[in-house]
Symmetry: C2
Subunit: 198 residues, 2 copies
DNA sequence: AAAATTTCTTAACCTAGTTCATTCTGAAAA
DNA sequence: TTTTCAGAATGAACTAGGTTAAGAAATTTT
């Protein structure tokens, strides 16, 4: 429960003074979360920005038919929130759930706003964080509209190597936008082509 | 060639003082662009943030086979840039091209940086702009991984009503991620189902 | 206003990916 | 050690969407 990881994370984007770090960390809350526990459910307002210190969360949408689509995996060192719901304080249509027992830091909107007001440097930190997230998402859109399922899977393997052998295949399929059955086929093909040494 | 539109655009996110507006506008450059003219080509570094005052641009990717995929339409009142290339000053893999004769405001990275440094309020403006863009893009990802081609088209009609009867169908198809032939089918189906009054 | 080019439509055929049903596997309970 | 249960694999039948090609319509250019 120390701040090391989260400070390292935000310092990536901008040098921060002691005072800034102290102010920010004093506003954080630490939470342990059980597997399957929800941090956000459709209909709620997203009240916190969440930083994952350990474990893995997912941000997902659930269709009328009960079909789930994963918008974001959030393993260690990732931020997750429904940004629209958080800033506008409107009900979300998404869910955030722990896929593993996890530990997170959270900051509420009032506390984050206070941080922005008293230490404007954080506007820049969060601007740059948004830019990175945007660029990543844009690459994903390009894949989604242009690539085959196999290409999308290979891109996933490249982008989230730490998750490939950690998440059930059904979750990965739900992130890529294909059925688990088809992902199974793809994987078989790939391993057949590569040839598994005895 | 006055600043009305662009000032209105950025003021949406935050109240700006006279001084801030003056500083910012003094850094802007106005350009008229012919149809088909490129503002950015793969291999170049994206040197400007571009605001569209009139006309319409597109940000797109061109695959090896020559197939184009549109990441963003930028009609009046939109901003467009390859954000990654712009901030990192690395070569882009994207193109920005005018789909119509257009008129734009541009700001270079040095000028935008100067703006951030002397008037930190602009960090907030651009953070909020990024957030909006991110939210929109996240909705698009959800559609891309979950919806049928018809649903994607109907969402496009809802999101860009001003473009539906203004852009060639082939561009719309390239944004949605389907072939123009199939979009033709979808449109026929829709108009048949709706029944066109004599 | 003719020529040239781009865009749209249609239709026959093709395939990547889905659906559904069944079996298999392995880890956790008990 | 057996039972349970979620996840993974397999395969057959199906369908959304792609491909190709050719002609018709619309726009741009001259």
């Amino acid at each position: 429960m120390n701040h090391e990881q989260i400070i390292k994370n935000i310092s990536r984007w901008m040098a921060l003074s002691e005072a800034e770090i102290d102010f920010f960390t004093s506003r954080l809350t630490y939470r342990k979360i059980r597997r399957r526990q929800y941090l956000l459910q459709a209909g709620d307002v997203c009240r916190h920005y969440t930083f994952v210190n350990e474990g893995c969360l997912r941000l997902f949408h659930m269709g009328v038919n009960g079909v789930e689509h994963i918008l974001q995996f959030a393993p260690e060192d990732y931020w997750v929130a429904d940004i629209g719901s958080f800033y506008e304080e409107v009900p979300t249509s998404l869910h955030i759930e722990a896929l593993e027992p996890s530990e997170v830091w959270q900051i509420s909107k009032p506390d984050l706003t206070a941080t922005f007001v008293t230490h404007p440097g954080f506007d820049r930190v969060f601007r740059v964080m948004m830019e990175r997230a945007f660029i990543k998402l844009q690459k994903r859109v390009l894949l989604d509209i242009s690539a085959t399922a196999e290409e999308k899977y290979l891109a996933f393997v490249e982008n989230y190597p730490q998750l490939v052998n950690r998440m059930p295949q059904t979750q990965i399929a739900s992130f890529i936008g294909i059925t688990p059955e088809f992902l199974s086929k793809i994987r078989k093909n790939l391993s057949r082509r590569k040839g598994l040494p005895s």
